[in-house]
């Protein structure tokens, strides 16, 4: 990449600092950018191109790669497992993200009150998103257990039937969504809370004096300040759930009957279990393309011009 060309082709110095920097300044600017971009190119572009190449071969580790052109992609698109994984991934994303956004807004308002001890409550609520998804999945698996699990115990205590979590294709998917919601609703709440912190107090006071209805207050006063944080939350969460791996992997291992097997899990299986590297690369490219589309939307939405909308918070 033309990092150095870019640096030297600039249209003259932009700040007084740069004007002061002469020949040594050029080296200094190179030091700022070249090592980082060099490493990132090496670590990102090279593997991606390599993997694009591999996806065109029928290649199992230990055997000779055979050129198959788009064969892997054709096989993939005719494989019901691929479509199941795509469906499961999209289902997880839509279900988890929409629940997280709704609960995140509600909890955001709940956490926005001021009283002694709120600091500790917030800390507790924000904790789950900092933990390793694998560990979170692990202890939820313990809680979802059919025989000694606490979840079914509590359900039966309040008169509900015990649920075959992790065993039934439908409930296993619900379980994965529950775990994701438990871990990531706090993230939405965090951003909502930051947005709520930017609402000017005089606006709120005026609304109270005008006896505005709650819905009016939400729509007219809070919403403009919540729009940007919610868009951020929505897109970060969508990207993360589209590449979901850890929690279904540890909760169910992708089962029962592959009904919790996401695209990431399918790719991992082809690579590690079947040693079918070409196929794994092809699947991973589908994930890259899907996420790239979503990321592009994200990137457009958070261009620096819009950052100004959100200043303070928490």
């Amino acid at each position: 990449m033309a990092q150095e060309a870019m640096v030297s082709k600039r249209d003259g110095p932009a700040t007084a600092m740069e004007a002061a920097a002469g020949f040594r300044g050029v080296w200094w600017r190179r030091l700022l950018f070249v090592p980082t971009f060099g490493l990132l190119l090496l670590l990102a572009i090279v593997p991606l191109i390599f993997s694009l190449g591999i996806s065109l071969f029928n290649y199992s580790i230990g055997s000779k790669p055979v050129w198959v052109g788009l064969g892997n992609y054709l096989n993939m698109f005719t494989d019901p497992q691929f479509w199941l994984a795509t469906r499961v991934t999209v289902q997880f994303t839509i279900a988890a993200v929409s629940i997280e956004v709704v609960l995140g807004i509600l909890f955001g308002f709940v956490m926005n009150q001021r009283f002694t001890g709120m600091g500790i409550i917030r800390l507790i609520v924000f904790l789950p998103m900092m933990l390793a998804p694998l560990v979170v999945g692990l202890f939820w698996r313990f809680m979802f257990d059919q025989t000694f699990g606490i979840v079914d115990y509590l359900l039966t205590q309040i008169g509900l039937p015990a649920i075959p979590w992790l065993i039934d294709p439908f409930w296993a998917r619900v379980a994965v969504v529950v775990v994701d919601v438990w871990q990531w609703t706090p993230f939405v709440t965090l951003l909502v809370l930051a947005g709520l912190g930017t609402v000017p107090t005089d606006l709120l006071e005026a609304a109270t004096l005008d006896r505005a209805s709650n819905w009016m207050k939400f729509r007219q006063i809070y919403w403009p300040y919540l729009r940007f944080p919610l868009l951020l939350a929505l897109l970060f969460r969508s990207i993360d759930t589209l590449k979901m791996f850890d929690s279904p992997f540890i909760l169910t291992g992708g089962g029962p009957g592959n009904y919790t097997s996401t695209l990431s899990i399918l790719g991992y299986r082809h690579q590690i279990m079947f040693f079918n590297v070409g196929m794994a690369a092809a699947i991973s490219w589908v994930v890259v393309i899907i996420i790239n589309i979503v990321t592009n939307i994200l990137v457009k939405l958070i261009t620096p011009a819009k950052v100004g909308q959100v200043h303070t918070g928490l």
Binding site: M6, K9, R10, T15, A16, M17, A21, G25, L31, L32, F33, P35, T36, L39, L40, S51, I54, F107, V110, F115, I121, L123, I124, V125, F126, L127, M129, M130, L131, A132, L134, V135, L138, F139, F142, T147, F148, Y153, F187, L191, L193, A194, G195, P229, L232, F236, F245, Y268, Q271, I272, V277, S284, W285, V287, I291, N292, T295, V299, G313, L314
Partner: protein, 270 residues
Amino acid sequence: MKILKRVLGVVLALFVAAMFLFPLLWVVLASFKTKLELLAVPPVFIFQPTLQNYINAFNSDFPMQVRNSLIIAISSTVISIILGSLTAYGFSRYAIKGSDFLQFWILSLRMLPAIAVVVPFYLVFRMLGLLDTHIALILVYCLFNISFAVWVLKGFFDEIPLELEEAAMLDGYSPPQVFLRVALPLARSGLATTAVFCLIQSLNEFLLAVSLTTRVAETAPVGLSKVQTLMGVDWGLLSAASVLFMLPIVIFTIIVRNELVRGMSFGRMK
């Protein structure tokens, strides 16, 4: 009426907190139970606590895995903070052609699904004989940590008043000296926050770790994911190990609690 509303608000807040706290408390409780108590039906809430699970955890591979996790996370964080602060400072202070494009390219790397790089990294590291080594994971985590560090640190550098640096220039500081002696010290809380986030993210990562390590360089999450396959599941050991692994993360979270928004939104919100 007003008091009622207030009480209701507090009750709601406590209820929400309880929902998030309960699973954590349940693992902590589980980690002090004996095998029989762990599998008891109905679940037991009151029991004689035992430290046996923690002793077992210390006598398993777990301490070695934690050591691997720490070596990998710390090395990757140090590299990422050094390179990230240089580039973030560059983006913050110098007008570079295509600056926006480059920044977004870096952001898109952070969004890159791990599964996409697993395949090529596996093959490359296999060729280089670096599978199951610390170096492999350190390098791969740099990919994600550097892009994160550039974005978050740029926000912190943007906040430093330019006048301070210009004054230093007038005092005869060269640009690198301004960076080292003025900008970096002023951004130290930002550097610390960013480092903590890089550490947490590296400690928590699983897909790349499980694909690129087998035994020697195995990280703690990989170890935890495997315990379950040997002779059923030793939930006591797993709970104790999980608690031990989560403990530093809880402490880190307390340290960066005021900067959570910034860290979690890539510096897009404060």
